[in-house]
Symmetry: C2
Subunit: 474 residues, 2 copies
């Protein structure tokens, strides 16, 4: 007797109540507690029921011995008991009418044959009992809009990025640094071994979710290639989809087996599929964040011609190389523009061509000349976007760069062309602290910030390529 919820997974993000099975009164000892504190921090509005046969109290919440003892309905059960106990808990879920179980517990299909059998068993119990399952071997759902979270440090405010990940740790590696880069998330799902709900279900959901404007995925493999291709095709037609695929090499592919029991598949087939669908591919977590930063904040440039404006001739040379290697062009400026630049930048040693050397090494950053330079370059017919760059060196202070920050933000607001920023520091804690502060200022003003010119160019090139493909160019 199968019972299925109506299509559409919207309901899983709106549980009226949550039970956390396997909670303990010991501080931080139990994994289940990790799933309770974040709910309190995000002001989850429904009832929270810790479950442990011993009873007691946890973070001001009454602990119930079993699911059956919970007085009201339970929409979501987060399961953190040892693997051999999961079938019984799943049966309890079915009996209680739980709609969704997210199983944190590991030790299933990723760990060999016995685990595979156990996973099949819980999947069968769930199916028979009408319980949908996320996991096992996963972190479950982060949905700030409805107060769901599995990390006490994830922010309370929602954003444009929907993120699906077969790996729990990789979610932290994207969300925590992503937040510092100004990213916010609509729905994040760590789905682990995917014994029931899988990447296809969530991809279909995010494609239709009005809150999600960009879809990001970390995926190791899929068990239903045909359905995945269909879901991916639907999603890419609806919005940008960027995917970081794990297990693309022999060693990595072997590792996916023992991680989420995934067959990582053929690398060339994956590449071809992504190209056809217009999937934006990322090759590591840092690049995935750069891509999300770009798609979130950069107004799509109308072409590939970039102007580089920043201090240091050698930095400009390397920055130009980085841009052209990434598929952008650093075009010559017209003699007329170079002459006008000479009036703005009379200093000897400053390059008046593209890349433009501003300010010269010893000067402070900013001032009228920077704004004039950005305005002049933005007016060039053969320039599509501007990338300002600075490296905070020892001796720099908030004061010595404040004007530069204001100027770039002003240019971003007033110029017709997209403006981005590459901002790095020399390694000291003081300079990192300053860079971090400036980064927040830029991002709050809507200027995307990257750690290097090379990483900026790489991600920006992918944004341009995405729009070229959609417009039938290139």
């Amino acid at each position: 007797m199968e019972h299925r919820e109506p299509p559409g997974l919207e309901y899983i993000f709106h549980p009226r109540s949550i039970a956390v099975v396997g909670a303990s009164t010991q501080p931080s000892g139990s994994a289940a507690n990790v799933f309770i504190e974040p709910l309190l921090i995000l002001d989850y509005p429904g009832a929270i029921y810790p479950i442990n046969p011993k009873g007691g109290e946890l973070l001001g919440l009454k602990i119930y011995p079993t699911l059956a003892d919970v007085p009201g309905p339970v929409d979501l059960a987060t399961i953190c008991v040892p693997a051999p106990l999961v079938p019984q808990v799943m049966a309890d879920c079915a009996h209680k009418g739980v709609k969704l179980a997210q199983i944190f517990t590991a030790g299933f299909s990723e760990s060999g044959e016995a685990g595979e059998r156990l996973e099949a068993e819980i999947a069968a119990i769930a199916r028979r009992g009408g319980v949908r399952v996320i996991g096992p071997n996963c972190m479950g759902i982060y949905c700030p809009g409805t107060g769901l979270s599995f990390n006490p440090y994830f922010p309370r405010d929602s954003g444009a990025v929907g993120f699906l990940s077969q790996s729990g740790a990789n979610i932290n590696d994207v969300v925590e640094p992503g937040v510092h880069r100004g990213l916010r998330f609509s729905k994040v799902v760590s789905y682990g071994n995917a014994c029931d709900l899988n990447e296809c279900d969530f991809l279909e959901y995010l494609a239709g979710d009005p809150e999600t404007q960009i879809i990001a995925m970390y995926i190791e493999g899929t068990r239903d290639g045909q359905r995945f291709v269909k879901a991916l095709s639907q999603a890419t037609r609806a919005k940008p989809v960027t995917i970081l695929k794990g297990g693309r090499t022999q060693g990595g592919s072997r590792a996916t087996l023992s991680h989420t029991s995934s067959l990582a598949g053929d690398d060339a087939v994956w590449d071809a599929l992504c190209r056809q669908m217009g999937v934006i591919q990322a090759y590591n977590v840092e690049e995935l964040i750069d891509i999300l930063e770009t798609f979130s904040f950069l107004k799509p440039p109308r072409g590939r011609n970039i102007a580089l404006v920043g201090c240091g001739g050698g930095r400009g040379v390397l920055g130009a190389d980085d841009c052209e290697r990434a598929g952008l062009r650093v075009p010559r400026l017209s003699p007329e523009i170079s002459r006008k630049l000479k009036d703005i930048l009379p200093e000897a040693g400053a390059s008046l061509h593209n890349p433009i050397d501003h300010p010269p090494v010893m000067a402070g950053w900013g001032g009228d000349s920077l704004l004039q330079t950005l305005r002049l370059v933005s007016g060039c017919e053969n320039i599509d976007l501007l990338l300002a760059h600075i490296r905070l060196r020892l001796g720099f202070t908030r004061e010595s760069v404040a004007e530069g920050v204001d100027t770039v933000i002003k240019a971003h607001r007033e110029l017709g062309k997209p403006v981005a920023m590459a901002l790095s520091s020399s390694g000291s804690v003081e300079l990192y602290t300053l860079a971090h502060q400036l980064q927040q200022e830029f991002q709050q003003a809507g200027v995307p910030v990257y750690p290097t010119v090379g990483r900026a160019a790489h991600a920006i090139s992918k944004l341009i390529g995405y729009h070229e493909q959609r417009n039938g160019v290139g």
Copy 2:
């Protein structure tokens, strides 16, 4: 009447006295002052003579109106006056018997025909007067051993890296962050337009300098290809040479012209030359630092088989992909080793294969199990080096990771195989501060530290490739 110093440039690093021409009494206003303060900070033992027609005092030093007014001999003159005044100063240098002039002033061959003529003029005056020249358009020499410096934040202690750069800013971009990565420098020369002493002179010198164990270069182009190839061949036979070449793309190449008036040359020819000579190529400043870190601190692995040990299954998968993409191998461990690992790591969800998932997500870092794991893996016949990795997440403290740091350092000391560390943090200032502190601890113990597994793998693969080529393998 040409007069040349005897071959060998050793003397230029040992000036008995230094004049800084163009100094002013205004605080920080004059570029020349930038060249005086670092000398005081590094306790330069010789006499320092600021030169300015107005006279006066600067940082406790008497300012002399002209070079001729200086009572004693002047071995080195740093010239910071505006370009049109440089010929006169150069004539003064010749008259005073100055051995070496380093010309900071820009506005010469990099800025057009008039500048070219001016550069030819000063070169001729210098040649006639027996003055060797570094520059113009350069920062000159940093040599901590003899107290020479152009940056007040560069360290006082010497090290193994000799670094030549056509760009001044790129020197700061390598030395400042490099110092945080544990690098120290023997001699650093920013040589700019190279109107007299050039990359070939310095390369020949560093090849024979016993203090220099690794040579790094940032180069945009050379004017004497034949001599450069000879110097490079000699240098690569003597020690590892790693080069970051600017101007390898069309846009970058155009930029070198207005930066140091260099013709960047043909990219394919450059590649072929590097391959033949065994030059270790870097493509950006970050990679150059990673390579120097590796050649400075990592014991060369006897092969390409790497074991990855770190927290998070998905991180392991991506790390394995990064390693194999970089040309390393992440081999399977024998069933016997995996069985033994199971005794050490009984936690469900921990991968017992390579990459090894240790510790599982919720645990602290370190402990006996980490040391046992590293020992066991180090004993494997098919493992040549170990890379431990951790990402500091929000909630981590010095206490929660202290044991892990000690354990990796212990493994580095006691195991027969090379050990490296990939250490990153989630972006907050607090975690960066902690990561920075741990990095110093690792580096002081001789363990190389990289920001990501991918960057570690990339640089380590270059070290292995270097030794393979020297041993006639691969």
